[in-house]
Amino acid sequence: MTIALIWLLQDLFQVVAAETLLVPDLFLLGLLVFGASEKLSPQGLLWSAFVGGLFWDVRWTGLFGFTAFLDVVAVWFFVELWGRIPQAGRTPILLSFLALGLHIFVGLGHFLSWAELEPMESLFVNQQILALPIIVFVGWRGCRGTRGDE
């Protein structure tokens, strides 16, 4: 339910910012928080990424399955990597860097899909810059959840 609300929040932000910005991928970052804090099972993360990405495609990109593909790959990579890191090494900084990398990966996927790249360059860069504070929050919130459970 929370993840659906995050998707809707991103959609509403995109409606408001449609004329100026690409909003940060709140949905993906939300999934990472849920994954890091183990509030969703890996399978739950995977299919949430798929469904949320698919809905994003229907609403915004028009290429069904494209965002779903990028989100699923990002979540898959995250689960595989995060699972290999011992509990002691799962720091907010590491999670933030991982979230940044995956956010850039998905953003770059979208960016490269545009027919005309030049006018989209600034939108892509602004999206990544705007995501930075949220990524820091993801690192803090994701790791806090894990430690709270311990």
Binding site: L8, D11, L12, F13, V15, V16, A18, E19, P42, Q43, L46, W47, A49, F50, G53, L54, F55, V58, R59, W60, T61, G62, L63, F64, G65, F66, A68, F69, V72, V73, W76, V79, G83, S113, W114, A115, E116, P119
Partner: protein
Amino acid sequence: MADNGLRDFRIQGIIAVTLALFLMGVTAGTPLKSALERTVISVLDFPERPARLLLDGILATGGWVEERGSLLERIDVLQAENLALRRRIEEGLIPPLSPEKGERTLTTRVLSRSPLSWWREIRIDKGSDDGIRPGDPAMSDGFLIGRVTRVESGFSTIELLTSPGLLIPVVVDQTRDLGVVAGDEKGQVHLLYLPVDRELEVEMGLSTALVSEQLPPGIPVGFIAAEEPEDGAFRPYRVRLGADLTRLYRIQIGISGRGARS
């Protein structure tokens, strides 16, 4: 994660990736895609409404200073045109003008623009319920950008001038030469079928021509940007559109008072 759990996760990952790729491959341009888009956009219309109102509020308060300058410039141009038209009416060169019953322009918002058909079409948030009909002209900043092709109750699709499927008869304002503008689906628009002996200059204006029932005549389209190599007895020209097709957010639809155009 236990080995079994990890294996299960990876199998589901492969299924999800395959499904996403499959959907990408099979849904493009199908009626299923349009139906799904319609449904999701209709469902999201309600929760998105406050966001749209907020955007309108922000634009109305924040953007009016910026818009005011360009609107004043446009008013100057329109006043000059209006004066010239009135003079011609007074001189009996053209009959008095009055809008047809029901004729008006309707401002709409761009709902979606697919990267796959970026230069071909856009979807807007008004449809037949608002009086839009297939064939109505779509404009931005007072210049033609395309034509309504499909209309549903609350949404419409506009084929852009950059689409190769949309051939628009135009007239060169300064010489009255007739030609056709057509897009190449790569963001460029070309003026075609002008004989090589015609001497057209860069920056000459283009407007829709009264040679078909497709569009009303006299809508500004753009300007001649450059000559292109001869093609037999004809010379194409590159066209600079008056509207910026890379920044389409709000567009105006010319609603006619008559039935649907062909």
